[in-house]
């Protein structure tokens, strides 16, 4: 347990020191403020347009952050073999992966809190009422990004940082298109193809479960327990990806 905490704290310190992170944060804040200004151009439904643009910007910058810290840290450490330094000490590979993930998640969470604070303060200043339900949207975004970090860590354990980043983007796209595979499977006549599509549908996470922006912005009903179920779904998937990463990493000859 102590090892995990040590690795997590060091990872957190390391990522916080990275200047690229601050550039992403700055871009996020500027993009957020710019996107909010679109609300005035919409003439009608200003509040909805502002809230939606703000949440969408948070989602995109969150994705950027997740890929950057997920691939940029573990992937680069494995590629440059600096990981030797840690693994030569009495640190198990499993503890290393968990510690890295916790450290990265702490960084991601801190950044997310900062971006969310900018968003909430900005829309409040612009005269838009901040709805408590917006916090649910931000919470599910954070869960989705933790899942993306886990996916990028998993890909980093067996491929180069560039490929891991490409795979992570592909994972994100496939995750949001998951519903289509189900529809495709239902319409497919060929049993082999149907099996492939159903398997992909079951295997890949459905990232649309974390997207409740439209429902929040338009005050549409969100079924009770939905947020809790979606958060649990995301956490379970994250654990699954971390387990896969641990298995691959423990067999890796570094």
């Amino acid at each position: 347990m102590n090892t995990i905490v040590t690795v997590a704290v060091n990872t957190f310190r390391e990522t916080i020191r990275n200047k690229v992170l601050y550039n992403i944060l700055l871009v996020a804040a500027v993009a957020l403020l710019l996107s909010l200004s679109f609300g005035d151009l919409s003439v009608f439904s200003r509040a909805q347009v502002m809230s939606d643009f703000g949440l969408a910007t948070m989602s995109l910058t969150g994705l950027l952050l997740a890929i950057f810290i997920g691939v940029g840290l573990l992937g680069v450490e494995i590629a440059t073999k600096t990981v030797y330094g840690v693994l030569n000490r009495p640190v198990s590979r499993e503890a290393f992966i968990i510690g890295k993930f916790c450290g990265l998640c702490a960084t991601l969470l801190l950044n997310f809190i900062l971006i969310a604070a900018v968003f909430f303060v900005a829309i409040q200043l612009l005269g838009v009422t901040v709805k408590a339900a917006m916090l649910y949207a931000v919470l599910l975004l954070a869960v989705e990004m933790a899942l993306i970090v886990a996916a990028s860590m998993f890909f980093s354990t067996f491929t180069t940082p560039t490929l891991a980043a490409i795979f992570t983007v592909g994972f994100y796209i496939a995750g949001h298109l998951n519903d289509l595979m189900n529809i495709g499977a239902e319409q497919q006549q060929n049993p082999v193809w149907r099996f492939v599509l159903v398997s992909l549908n079951r295997l890949l996470p459905n990232l649309e479960h974390f997207n409740i922006r439209t429902r929040i912005v338009y005050d549409l009903a969100i079924p009770e327990l939905f947020v809790a179920q979606a958060a649990l779904y995301g956490m379970l998937y994250t654990v699954l990806l971390l387990l896969c990463a641990m298995i691959v990493f423990s067999r890796k000859d570094v």
């Binding site: 679109f38 151009l41 919409s42 003439v43 009608f44 439904s45 909805q48 347009v49 939606d52 643009f53 969408a56 989602s59 994100y172 796209i173 949001h176 298109l177 289509l180 990232l207 649309e208 997207n211 922006r213 439209t214 912005v217 338009y218 549409l220």
Partner: protein, 223 residues
Amino acid sequence: MRLRRALPVAAIVVIVAAINFLQSGLHRTAGPQWQQESMTYLPQGERLKPALLGFETTLAHYLWIRTILYFGGHAITDKQYPWLIDMLDVITRLCPWFYPAYEFAGLMVPEVCRNPEAARIILERGLTHLGATRWNIAFYMGTIHLRYYDDRKTAAQYMARAAMTAGAPRGKLAATANAFFTQAGSFHEGLQFLLFAYETSDNPEVRRHLAAKIRELQRRETE
């Protein structure tokens, strides 16, 4: 030394001026057709949706801003809006809860695009998604049926639906629906609707207004 420091600043100023000059030159060269043609490639909403990875509402909002700019741009120039219907159609397919697009479809499309049928189709979508909360959508439908199809009975049915929607000016809309029913020869349907509106209303002002209307109709019926 001072000249060496001033040179880059001067260069920046010159380049920024050149960029601005070129930008307005490009707008002039492209002409008004340019923006219009850019909408040609706007894909159908249903095809577009899966490719947006959960950002369909954001794109709908972005397209709405483009629609406002498109409408404004043409309103002060040629007053032709060939892409307005497509834009509103895509917006309402991507985000069927976006009310201003329906308002625009109900008010502008039949008049400025001379296409009440397109407005009717877009408003049908609005009724499905927002019909329970926005009385104006059923009201616009009623207006289109009255004005462009001369179908008073359907217009009356939509007015009746608008009247029964939460937050609607029930008394006025119910009287309008009743008038259309009567003009369409469905006197009893109109009376039945007024009675129903009277029984389901809790607003004393509206009830008084409807009661007077019902008494007047019943008197006319006995005559």
